[in-house]
């Protein structure tokens, strides 16, 4: 009997150490990425000058007189993300309200797996469909020489962030206690009033988490936007402009870059990383607030 007891203690100890090591490794990876990005990303910013780097409007990395201004990429990433949210949020939000509160069980059983599937499609496939359908569509609709550009990228991003917005919003809406719904209906409110005046406000922190998650997805996406955005380093001053995102700026030149150009690409990655850290910080704050309430 004592033997068995001892054994349990031993396995517990071993498990404890294994999990500790794994946990430390995890933290280690994150720290390594941070440190490496800082080390690799700072020199170019110093050499070019932070103002010229962040706010320079021209990116000509391979010119005789190279210029390393990444404002076009920063603005493109910001506009692209905002655009994707502006389109994706209402679509995703109303889908979530419908699926969580209005759809019959049958309809839900059909649509929900499809949403999951949408989340699982590799981004290159989104890019591919965008190239084949969206880009020619935009070209024909607006009578342009080329349909690829900011608008195409925004639409692809909007569709790509839909599943996470829908899933997280559904979870938030379904977590609202049924008593609130009953209380509202018992006061003579109808179903729609109940949903929009009681259920949705009660789910708002979860829904804002969905938005931030969508923002994170959109700003970090590279492959799909690379295929539809045109990929020229222009300032994004029109929806049809051929543009480059922070992600695609790194991806498209990395393979052949060298010297200061390569260092500047690391700096872009650092800027992107900073954006994502801020977004994650906001997300964590919102989630904590949701739990507290």
């Amino acid at each position: 009997m004592f033997e068995a007891h001892k054994k349990i203690i031993n396995t517990e100890k071993i498990a404890y150490w294994i999990f500790l090591v794994l946990g430390v490794m995890n933290v280690g990876f994150v720290l390594m990425i941070c440190v490496y990005l800082l080390i690799a990303g700072t020199p170019a910013i110093v050499k070019v000058g932070p103002i010229d780097f962040l706010f320079g409007t021209t990116w000509a990395s391979t010119a005789a007189q190279p210029k390393f201004g990444i404002l076009p990429f920063i603005l493109t990433s910001i506009y692209g993300t905002i655009g994707a949210i502006v389109i994706g949020l209402p679509l995703g939000f109303f889908s979530a309200v419908y699926l969580a509160k209005m759809a019959s069980r049958k309809v839900k059983a059909v649509i929900e797996p499809m949403v999951d599937l949408l989340a699982g499609i590799p981004s290159v496939v989104y890019g591919f469909i965008g190239m084949l359908v969206l880009v020619p569509g935009i070209r024909a609709l607006f009578g342009l020489p080329d349909g690829s550009g900011l608008l195409a990228a925004i639409i692809v991003l909007a569709i790509m962030i839909l599943p996470s917005i829908i899933k997280v919003s559904i979870t938030a809406i379904e977590a609202v206690p049924e008593e609130y719904t009953l209380g509202s209906l018992a006061l003579g409110a109808n179903k729609v009033e109940t949903i929009f005046r009681v259920v949705v406000p009660a789910a708002r922190s979860g829904i804002s988490a969905a938005v931030v998650l969508g923002v994170g997805r959109a700003i970090g996406e590279a492959m799909a936007v690379m295929m539809v955005a045109g990929n020229a380093a222009n300032m994004p001053d029109s929806l049809f402009q051929s543009v480059r995102f922070l992600t695609t700026a790194v991806a498209s030149e990395m393979s052949y870059s060298s010297g200061l150009q390569r260092e500047a690409l690391f700096s872009i990655a650092l800027v992107l990383f900073a954006f994502i850290m801020v977004i994650n910080g906001i997300l964590n704050m919102l989630l904590k607030k949701g739990i507290k309430r």
């Binding site: 206690p177 008593e179 609130y180 009953l182 209380g183 509202s184 209906l185 018992a186 006061l187 003579g188 409110a189 109808n190 009033e193 005046r197 009681v198 406000p201 009660a202 309430r293």
Partner: protein, 261 residues
Amino acid sequence: MSENNANAAAEGNIFTVSKFNLWYGDHHALHNINMDIKEHTITALIGPSGCGKSTFIRNLNRMNDLIPSTKLEGSILYNNEELVNSDIDVSKLRKEVGMVFQKPNPFPMSIYDNIAYGPRTHGVRNRAKLDNLVTESLKSAAIYEEVKDRMSSSALGLSGGQQQRLCIARALAVQPRVLLMDEPTSALDPISTGKIEELAMQLKEKYTIVIVTHNMQQALRISDYTAFFLLGDLVEFGPTEKIFTKPEDKRTEDYITGRFG
């Protein structure tokens, strides 16, 4: 029909339930219920767990509409309007027949917004009118003094007993005629329970109250009429005093004397 109505109204019955039956799927949950509920009275529904009290009370404001696969037969007249299987305006009905639940369920909003929710839903926009309704409702529910300095703080910060009175105030704010309460004090401490009982007896002047309770003393203290349910049957219904002193049915006597249930 119209003569019938006139009679019902003349007798001061706000609900007239006749030959009412309800099924959940195959389960026959209420059998042939007949009951008249008089205006400005408190009617207590008592009986062991699962006998159909909540099922019955939910039919008085059509909250049973939310439960799928129920089947209804018979008649419930509210103010001479048929509630059973009819296509009346349930919003209007629920505005007149309010409900307070077992577990206090204030919305996660400010105290003010909780009370103003109902009136706003029914189209009251005028700020002064809303303010007035909120104050009056809180006063009627005997909670105004406790919350008047914190109207804009969250209702979830109130104690359970305060929350329940807030829910009563919220129901009163839409100016109902009837208040249905399904075990409103079962989650509360004795002092809060006492406050709600006292409140119910005051509210009777202006409203009609139907209350489900497992507490015999409570039924005896506050109600004018008592209905004893058992396994889906309405075994006995009559003036509370009579039910508790000279019950006609042996089963009623056994239940109120605590011999079963």
